[in-house]
Protein backbone atom coordinates (compact mmCIF):
# COMPACT_ATOMS: atom_id res chain seq x y z
CA UNK A 1 0.00 0.00 0.00
CA UNK A 2 2.69 2.50 1.02
CA UNK A 3 4.93 1.34 -1.83
CA UNK A 4 2.15 2.04 -4.32
CA UNK A 5 1.54 5.47 -2.87
CA UNK A 6 5.25 6.36 -3.10
CA UNK A 7 5.42 5.16 -6.69
CA UNK A 8 2.38 7.20 -7.61
CA UNK A 9 3.93 10.19 -5.87
CA UNK A 10 7.23 9.85 -7.73
CA UNK A 11 5.39 9.47 -11.00
CA UNK A 12 3.31 12.55 -10.33
CA UNK A 13 6.37 14.63 -9.48
CA UNK A 14 8.23 13.43 -12.58
CA UNK A 15 5.24 14.24 -14.76
CA UNK A 16 5.09 17.74 -13.38
CA UNK A 17 8.84 18.22 -13.84
CA UNK A 18 8.63 16.96 -17.40
CA UNK A 19 5.70 19.27 -18.14
CA UNK A 20 7.65 22.19 -16.72
CA UNK A 21 10.70 21.46 -18.88
CA UNK A 22 8.45 21.29 -21.93
CA UNK A 23 7.11 24.77 -21.21
CA UNK A 24 10.65 26.17 -21.04
CA UNK A 25 12.04 24.36 -24.07
CA UNK A 26 9.10 24.76 -26.47
CA UNK A 27 9.52 28.54 -26.78
CA UNK A 28 9.05 30.54 -29.95
CA UNK A 29 11.05 33.71 -30.56
CA UNK A 30 9.66 35.33 -27.39
CA UNK A 31 10.90 33.34 -24.40
CA UNK A 32 8.67 35.24 -21.99
CA UNK A 33 5.94 33.32 -20.26
CA UNK A 34 3.19 34.47 -17.93
CA UNK A 35 2.97 32.85 -14.50
CA UNK A 36 -0.22 31.29 -15.86
CA UNK A 37 1.83 28.88 -17.97
CA UNK A 38 3.53 27.42 -14.91
CA UNK A 39 0.31 26.56 -13.08
CA UNK A 40 -1.46 23.23 -12.74
CA UNK A 41 -4.45 22.57 -15.04
CA UNK A 42 -6.80 22.89 -12.07
CA UNK A 43 -5.55 26.35 -11.10
CA UNK A 44 -5.65 27.46 -14.73
CA UNK A 45 -9.26 26.28 -14.95
CA UNK A 46 -10.10 28.30 -11.84
CA UNK A 47 -8.78 31.47 -13.49
CA UNK A 48 -10.40 30.94 -16.86
CA UNK A 49 -13.95 30.47 -15.64
CA UNK A 50 -15.52 33.74 -14.46
CA UNK A 51 -18.18 31.74 -12.62
CA UNK A 52 -15.58 30.11 -10.41
CA UNK A 53 -12.69 32.64 -10.28
CA UNK A 54 -12.78 33.96 -6.68
CA UNK A 55 -11.34 37.28 -7.90
CA UNK A 56 -14.70 37.94 -9.57
CA UNK A 57 -16.17 38.49 -6.10
CA UNK A 58 -13.98 41.58 -5.83
CA UNK A 59 -14.76 42.60 -9.41
CA UNK A 60 -18.49 42.61 -8.67
CA UNK A 61 -17.83 44.71 -5.57
CA UNK A 62 -15.69 47.04 -7.69
CA UNK A 63 -18.50 47.48 -10.19
CA UNK A 64 -20.86 48.47 -7.37
CA UNK A 65 -18.29 50.98 -6.05
CA UNK A 66 -17.77 52.38 -9.54
CA UNK A 67 -21.43 53.34 -9.61
CA UNK A 68 -21.72 54.56 -6.03
CA UNK A 69 -21.50 58.23 -5.07
CA UNK A 70 -19.05 58.72 -2.19
CA UNK A 71 -21.26 61.53 -0.89
CA UNK A 72 -24.68 62.98 -1.66
CA UNK A 73 -23.29 65.90 -3.63
CA UNK A 74 -20.41 63.99 -5.18
CA UNK A 75 -20.09 62.10 -8.44
CA UNK A 76 -19.51 58.38 -8.66
CA UNK A 77 -16.64 57.16 -10.85
CA UNK A 78 -19.32 56.59 -13.46
CA UNK A 79 -20.25 60.28 -13.18
CA UNK A 80 -17.08 61.25 -15.07
CA UNK A 81 -16.02 58.01 -16.70
CA UNK A 82 -19.42 56.61 -17.67
CA UNK A 83 -19.25 52.91 -18.57
CA UNK A 84 -15.97 51.33 -17.50
CA UNK A 85 -15.66 48.82 -20.37
CA UNK A 86 -15.21 51.77 -22.72
CA UNK A 87 -13.50 54.41 -20.61
CA UNK A 88 -11.16 52.09 -18.73
CA UNK A 89 -10.22 49.91 -21.68
CA UNK A 90 -6.41 49.76 -21.88
CA UNK A 91 -5.90 51.81 -18.73
CA UNK A 92 -4.54 49.14 -16.41
CA UNK A 93 -2.32 47.88 -19.24
CA UNK A 94 -0.54 51.23 -19.38
CA UNK A 95 -0.03 52.00 -15.71
CA UNK A 96 2.09 53.17 -13.86
CA UNK A 97 2.01 56.50 -15.68
CA UNK A 98 3.93 59.71 -15.19
CA UNK A 99 1.75 62.33 -13.49
CA UNK A 100 2.57 65.90 -14.59
CA UNK A 101 1.07 67.52 -11.48
CA UNK A 102 2.96 65.40 -8.97
CA UNK A 103 6.03 65.10 -11.24
CA UNK A 104 6.39 61.39 -10.59
CA UNK A 105 4.87 58.14 -11.77
CA UNK A 106 1.65 56.93 -10.15
CA UNK A 107 0.41 53.37 -10.11
CA UNK A 108 -3.25 52.56 -10.70
CA UNK A 109 -4.09 52.49 -6.98
CA UNK A 110 -2.56 55.92 -6.44
CA UNK A 111 -4.39 57.25 -9.49
CA UNK A 112 -7.71 55.96 -8.12
CA UNK A 113 -7.00 57.74 -4.84
CA UNK A 114 -5.99 60.97 -6.59
CA UNK A 115 -9.37 60.87 -8.35
CA UNK A 116 -11.18 60.25 -5.07
CA UNK A 117 -9.49 63.16 -3.30
CA UNK A 118 -9.43 65.68 -6.15
CA UNK A 119 -12.64 64.97 -8.02
CA UNK A 120 -14.87 63.15 -5.55
CA UNK A 121 -13.73 65.03 -2.42
CA UNK A 122 -13.60 61.70 -0.63
CA UNK A 123 -10.88 60.31 1.64
CA UNK A 124 -8.31 58.08 -0.04
CA UNK A 125 -8.80 54.33 0.29
CA UNK A 126 -6.25 52.45 2.41
CA UNK A 127 -3.71 50.21 0.69
CA UNK A 128 -4.93 46.62 0.31
CA UNK A 129 -8.35 47.63 1.62
CA UNK A 130 -11.36 45.74 0.33
CA UNK A 131 -12.63 48.80 -1.54
CA UNK A 132 -9.38 49.75 -3.21
CA UNK A 133 -8.69 46.15 -4.29
CA UNK A 134 -12.22 45.82 -5.64
CA UNK A 135 -11.96 49.00 -7.69
CA UNK A 136 -8.52 48.00 -8.92
CA UNK A 137 -9.80 44.53 -9.90
CA UNK A 138 -12.77 46.01 -11.73
CA UNK A 139 -10.66 48.53 -13.64
CA UNK A 140 -7.89 46.01 -14.38
CA UNK A 141 -10.39 43.57 -15.85
CA UNK A 142 -11.32 46.14 -18.50
CA UNK A 143 -7.82 45.58 -19.96
CA UNK A 144 -8.10 41.79 -19.92
CA UNK A 145 -6.64 40.33 -23.09
CA UNK A 146 -4.93 43.57 -24.12
CA UNK A 147 -1.15 43.83 -24.53
CA UNK A 148 0.81 45.60 -21.81
CA UNK A 149 1.68 49.05 -23.15
CA UNK A 150 4.21 50.80 -20.90
CA UNK A 151 3.95 54.57 -20.49
CA UNK A 152 5.91 56.15 -23.35
CA UNK A 153 6.29 59.49 -21.55
CA UNK A 154 10.08 60.17 -21.51
CA UNK A 155 9.75 61.72 -18.06
CA UNK A 156 8.97 58.26 -16.69
CA UNK A 157 12.29 56.87 -17.89
CA UNK A 158 14.57 57.91 -14.98
CA UNK A 159 12.11 56.29 -12.57
CA UNK A 160 11.97 53.16 -14.70
CA UNK A 161 15.76 52.97 -14.67
CA UNK A 162 15.72 53.18 -10.87
CA UNK A 163 13.25 50.29 -10.93
CA UNK A 164 15.60 48.31 -13.17
CA UNK A 165 18.44 48.92 -10.71
CA UNK A 166 16.24 47.79 -7.81
CA UNK A 167 15.41 44.60 -9.72
CA UNK A 168 19.12 43.78 -9.92
CA UNK A 169 20.02 44.81 -6.38
CA UNK A 170 20.83 42.06 -3.88
CA UNK A 171 18.87 42.48 -0.67
CA UNK A 172 18.11 40.78 2.61
CA UNK A 173 19.81 38.20 4.78
CA UNK A 174 19.54 35.75 1.89
CA UNK A 175 21.35 38.30 -0.30
CA UNK A 176 19.23 37.68 -3.36
CA UNK A 177 18.06 40.04 -6.08
CA UNK A 178 14.87 39.67 -8.12
CA UNK A 179 16.96 38.81 -11.18
CA UNK A 180 18.82 36.02 -9.36
CA UNK A 181 15.67 33.88 -9.31
CA UNK A 182 13.31 35.37 -11.87
CA UNK A 183 15.73 35.80 -14.75
CA UNK A 184 18.46 33.21 -14.24
CA UNK A 185 16.44 30.48 -12.52
CA UNK A 186 12.94 30.92 -13.91
CA UNK A 187 11.40 27.55 -14.76
CA UNK A 188 13.45 25.73 -12.16
CA UNK A 189 12.17 24.86 -8.72
CA UNK A 190 12.40 26.43 -5.29
CA UNK A 191 11.25 23.67 -3.02
CA UNK A 192 8.36 22.18 -4.93
CA UNK A 193 7.22 25.46 -6.49
CA UNK A 194 8.20 26.39 -10.03
CA UNK A 195 9.94 29.79 -10.15
CA UNK A 196 7.96 32.03 -12.51
CA UNK A 197 9.45 34.81 -14.65
CA UNK A 198 7.71 37.45 -12.50
CA UNK A 199 5.71 39.32 -15.15
CA UNK A 200 2.83 41.35 -13.67
CA UNK A 201 0.33 39.99 -16.15
CA UNK A 202 -2.49 39.18 -13.75
CA UNK A 203 -2.70 41.76 -11.00
CA UNK A 204 -4.56 42.12 -8.74
CA UNK A 205 -4.41 38.37 -8.16
CA UNK A 206 -6.40 35.90 -6.13
CA UNK A 207 -3.51 34.09 -4.53
CA UNK A 208 -4.28 30.66 -3.08
CA UNK A 209 -1.56 31.21 -0.46
CA UNK A 210 -3.33 34.40 0.73
CA UNK A 211 -6.83 32.94 0.38
CA UNK A 212 -7.71 36.37 -0.91
CA UNK A 213 -7.09 39.07 -3.48
CA UNK A 214 -3.95 41.20 -3.34
CA UNK A 215 -1.96 43.71 -5.31
CA UNK A 216 1.45 43.57 -6.93
CA UNK A 217 2.79 45.60 -4.00
CA UNK A 218 1.64 42.93 -1.58
CA UNK A 219 3.41 40.31 -3.65
CA UNK A 220 6.63 42.34 -3.90
CA UNK A 221 6.61 42.94 -0.15
CA UNK A 222 6.07 39.22 0.34
CA UNK A 223 9.11 38.43 -1.81
CA UNK A 224 11.20 40.92 0.14
CA UNK A 225 10.16 39.27 3.42
CA UNK A 226 10.97 35.95 1.82
CA UNK A 227 14.62 36.92 1.34
CA UNK A 228 14.62 38.41 4.84
CA UNK A 229 14.77 42.03 3.78
CA UNK A 230 12.73 44.84 5.32
CA UNK A 231 9.94 45.34 2.78
CA UNK A 232 9.26 48.79 1.30
CA UNK A 233 6.13 50.36 2.77
CA UNK A 234 2.91 50.29 0.75
CA UNK A 235 2.94 53.21 -1.65
CA UNK A 236 6.72 53.66 -1.42
CA UNK A 237 8.25 55.21 -4.55
CA UNK A 238 10.55 52.19 -4.90
CA UNK A 239 7.56 49.88 -5.38
CA UNK A 240 6.12 52.12 -8.08
CA UNK A 241 9.52 52.30 -9.80
CA UNK A 242 9.80 48.50 -9.70
CA UNK A 243 6.34 48.17 -11.20
CA UNK A 244 7.24 50.66 -13.91
CA UNK A 245 10.25 48.52 -14.79
CA UNK A 246 8.32 45.23 -14.57
CA UNK A 247 5.65 46.49 -16.95
CA UNK A 248 8.36 47.48 -19.46
CA UNK A 249 9.93 44.04 -19.03
CA UNK A 250 6.54 42.52 -19.79
CA UNK A 251 5.73 44.90 -22.66
CA UNK A 252 3.30 43.47 -25.22
CA UNK A 253 2.44 40.43 -23.05
CA UNK A 254 -1.31 40.04 -22.59
CA UNK A 255 -2.91 41.19 -19.37
CA UNK A 256 -4.96 38.47 -17.63
CA UNK A 257 -6.32 40.44 -14.72
CA UNK A 258 -7.76 39.40 -12.40
CA UNK A 259 -5.70 36.22 -12.29
CA UNK A 260 -5.43 33.25 -9.92
CA UNK A 261 -1.99 32.24 -8.69
CA UNK A 262 -0.76 29.61 -6.23
Amino acid sequence: MIGQARFAACRAVLLVLAATSFVCVAADKDPRRSGFDFMSPQTKAMQQDDASNPAMLWVSDGEALWNRRPGASERACAGCHAAAPESMRGIAASYPRFDATLQRPLDLRQRINVCRVEHQHAPPLAAESQELLSLEAFVAMQSRGLPIKPDADPRAQPFRERGAALFKQRIGQLDLSCTTCHDALAGQRLGSAVIPQAHPTGYPIYRLEWQGLGSLQRRLRGCMSGVRAEPFAYGAPELVELELYLMQRAAAMALEAPAVRP
Binding site: A5, A8, A9, A12, V13, V16, M39, S40, P41, Q42, T43, A45, M46, L190, G191, S192, A193, L208, E209, Q211, G222, C223, S225, G226, V227, P262
Partner: protein, 152 residues
Protein backbone atom coordinates in the same frame (compact mmCIF):
# COMPACT_ATOMS: atom_id res chain seq x y z
CA UNK B 1 -25.36 6.47 26.82
CA UNK B 2 -26.47 7.58 23.37
CA UNK B 3 -26.26 5.42 20.27
CA UNK B 4 -23.28 7.24 18.76
CA UNK B 5 -21.10 6.79 21.79
CA UNK B 6 -22.08 3.14 22.00
CA UNK B 7 -21.11 2.63 18.36
CA UNK B 8 -17.75 4.31 18.79
CA UNK B 9 -16.93 2.25 21.84
CA UNK B 10 -17.97 -0.91 20.02
CA UNK B 11 -15.78 0.12 17.09
CA UNK B 12 -12.89 0.72 19.43
CA UNK B 13 -13.44 -2.59 21.17
CA UNK B 14 -13.78 -4.50 17.90
CA UNK B 15 -10.51 -2.99 16.69
CA UNK B 16 -8.90 -4.35 19.82
CA UNK B 17 -7.38 -1.04 20.80
CA UNK B 18 -6.88 -0.27 24.46
CA UNK B 19 -7.09 3.38 25.38
CA UNK B 20 -8.45 4.09 21.91
CA UNK B 21 -9.16 7.72 22.70
CA UNK B 22 -5.44 8.41 23.21
CA UNK B 23 -4.55 6.42 20.11
CA UNK B 24 -6.16 9.11 17.98
CA UNK B 25 -2.88 10.96 17.45
CA UNK B 26 -0.53 11.66 14.58
CA UNK B 27 0.82 8.11 14.79
CA UNK B 28 0.06 5.99 11.72
CA UNK B 29 -2.32 3.67 13.54
CA UNK B 30 -4.11 6.63 15.09
CA UNK B 31 -4.66 8.25 11.71
CA UNK B 32 -6.30 5.14 10.29
CA UNK B 33 -8.45 4.67 13.36
CA UNK B 34 -9.65 8.27 13.41
CA UNK B 35 -10.66 8.05 9.77
CA UNK B 36 -12.39 4.71 10.30
CA UNK B 37 -14.32 6.09 13.27
CA UNK B 38 -15.44 9.19 11.37
CA UNK B 39 -16.66 7.02 8.49
CA UNK B 40 -18.43 4.69 10.90
CA UNK B 41 -20.25 7.63 12.42
CA UNK B 42 -21.60 8.44 8.93
CA UNK B 43 -22.47 4.91 7.72
CA UNK B 44 -23.37 3.22 11.00
CA UNK B 45 -23.27 -0.57 10.72
CA UNK B 46 -23.48 -0.63 6.91
CA UNK B 47 -20.66 -2.02 4.81
CA UNK B 48 -18.96 0.49 2.53
CA UNK B 49 -18.13 -0.90 -0.91
CA UNK B 50 -15.69 0.53 -3.41
CA UNK B 51 -17.32 1.56 -6.69
CA UNK B 52 -19.94 3.78 -8.33
CA UNK B 53 -18.20 6.86 -6.95
CA UNK B 54 -15.51 8.86 -8.73
CA UNK B 55 -13.54 11.30 -6.59
CA UNK B 56 -11.68 13.56 -9.01
CA UNK B 57 -8.79 15.49 -7.47
CA UNK B 58 -5.27 16.30 -8.71
CA UNK B 59 -2.52 13.94 -7.56
CA UNK B 60 -0.23 16.88 -6.88
CA UNK B 61 -1.55 20.24 -5.72
CA UNK B 62 0.28 23.55 -5.73
CA UNK B 63 -1.33 24.91 -2.62
CA UNK B 64 -3.19 23.14 0.14
CA UNK B 65 -5.42 26.13 0.86
CA UNK B 66 -7.60 25.67 -2.20
CA UNK B 67 -7.78 22.18 -3.70
CA UNK B 68 -10.50 21.78 -6.34
CA UNK B 69 -12.27 18.44 -6.42
CA UNK B 70 -15.41 16.89 -7.77
CA UNK B 71 -17.40 13.78 -6.91
CA UNK B 72 -19.56 11.95 -9.45
CA UNK B 73 -21.77 8.98 -8.60
CA UNK B 74 -23.07 6.53 -11.18
CA UNK B 75 -26.81 6.70 -10.47
CA UNK B 76 -29.99 7.21 -12.57
CA UNK B 77 -31.21 9.70 -9.92
CA UNK B 78 -34.80 8.52 -10.13
CA UNK B 79 -37.33 8.57 -7.31
CA UNK B 80 -36.56 4.94 -6.49
CA UNK B 81 -32.85 4.88 -7.24
CA UNK B 82 -30.81 7.95 -6.34
CA UNK B 83 -27.98 9.32 -4.25
CA UNK B 84 -29.12 10.71 -0.91
CA UNK B 85 -25.85 12.15 0.30
CA UNK B 86 -22.14 12.38 -0.40
CA UNK B 87 -19.61 12.86 2.39
CA UNK B 88 -15.91 13.61 2.01
CA UNK B 89 -13.39 12.67 4.69
CA UNK B 90 -9.69 13.45 5.06
CA UNK B 91 -6.90 11.68 6.88
CA UNK B 92 -4.57 14.29 8.36
CA UNK B 93 -6.32 17.62 8.83
CA UNK B 94 -7.16 18.58 12.44
CA UNK B 95 -10.68 17.26 11.80
CA UNK B 96 -11.88 14.37 9.57
CA UNK B 97 -14.98 15.91 8.00
CA UNK B 98 -14.55 18.06 4.92
CA UNK B 99 -18.02 18.64 3.46
CA UNK B 100 -21.33 16.78 3.15
CA UNK B 101 -23.82 17.16 0.32
CA UNK B 102 -27.51 16.22 0.46
CA UNK B 103 -28.96 15.25 -2.92
CA UNK B 104 -32.18 13.57 -4.04
CA UNK B 105 -34.42 12.75 -7.01
CA UNK B 106 -34.66 16.51 -7.78
CA UNK B 107 -30.90 16.63 -8.41
CA UNK B 108 -30.94 15.16 -11.90
CA UNK B 109 -27.23 14.35 -11.78
CA UNK B 110 -25.05 13.18 -8.92
CA UNK B 111 -22.12 15.48 -9.63
CA UNK B 112 -20.83 18.01 -7.13
CA UNK B 113 -17.69 20.11 -7.02
CA UNK B 114 -16.03 22.27 -4.40
CA UNK B 115 -12.65 23.44 -3.10
CA UNK B 116 -11.12 22.12 0.09
CA UNK B 117 -8.18 22.65 2.40
CA UNK B 118 -5.50 20.02 2.91
CA UNK B 119 -3.01 20.53 5.71
CA UNK B 120 -0.55 18.06 4.27
CA UNK B 121 -0.22 15.19 1.82
CA UNK B 122 -2.91 12.64 2.66
CA UNK B 123 -5.75 10.41 1.56
CA UNK B 124 -9.24 11.65 0.78
CA UNK B 125 -12.32 9.41 0.86
CA UNK B 126 -15.68 10.18 -0.78
CA UNK B 127 -18.64 8.09 0.36
CA UNK B 128 -22.07 8.13 -1.27
CA UNK B 129 -25.24 6.96 0.45
CA UNK B 130 -27.84 5.56 -1.97
CA UNK B 131 -31.59 5.43 -1.56
CA UNK B 132 -31.47 1.64 -1.06
CA UNK B 133 -29.35 2.12 2.04
CA UNK B 134 -26.08 1.02 0.44
CA UNK B 135 -22.81 2.96 0.75
CA UNK B 136 -20.14 3.28 -1.95
CA UNK B 137 -16.75 4.90 -1.85
CA UNK B 138 -13.71 6.04 -3.76
CA UNK B 139 -10.47 7.33 -2.30
CA UNK B 140 -7.54 9.31 -3.67
CA UNK B 141 -4.06 10.14 -2.43
CA UNK B 142 -3.06 13.79 -2.77
CA UNK B 143 0.41 15.25 -2.48
CA UNK B 144 0.36 18.78 -1.13
CA UNK B 145 3.31 21.00 -1.88
CA UNK B 146 4.08 23.86 0.44
CA UNK B 147 4.94 27.44 -0.54
CA UNK B 148 8.71 27.83 -0.81
CA UNK B 149 8.94 31.37 0.52
CA UNK B 150 7.60 32.32 3.92
CA UNK B 151 6.11 35.78 3.64
CA UNK B 152 6.06 36.89 7.25
Amino acid sequence: MNRTRRKIIHAGASLGVIGWARAVTAAEGGVEIALALAIKQYVGDAVVRAGKVKLDVAELVENGNTVPLSVAVDSPMTATDHVKSIAIFNERNPQRDVIRFALGPRSGRALVATRIRLATSQKLVAIAQLSDGSYWSHSADVIVTLAACVES
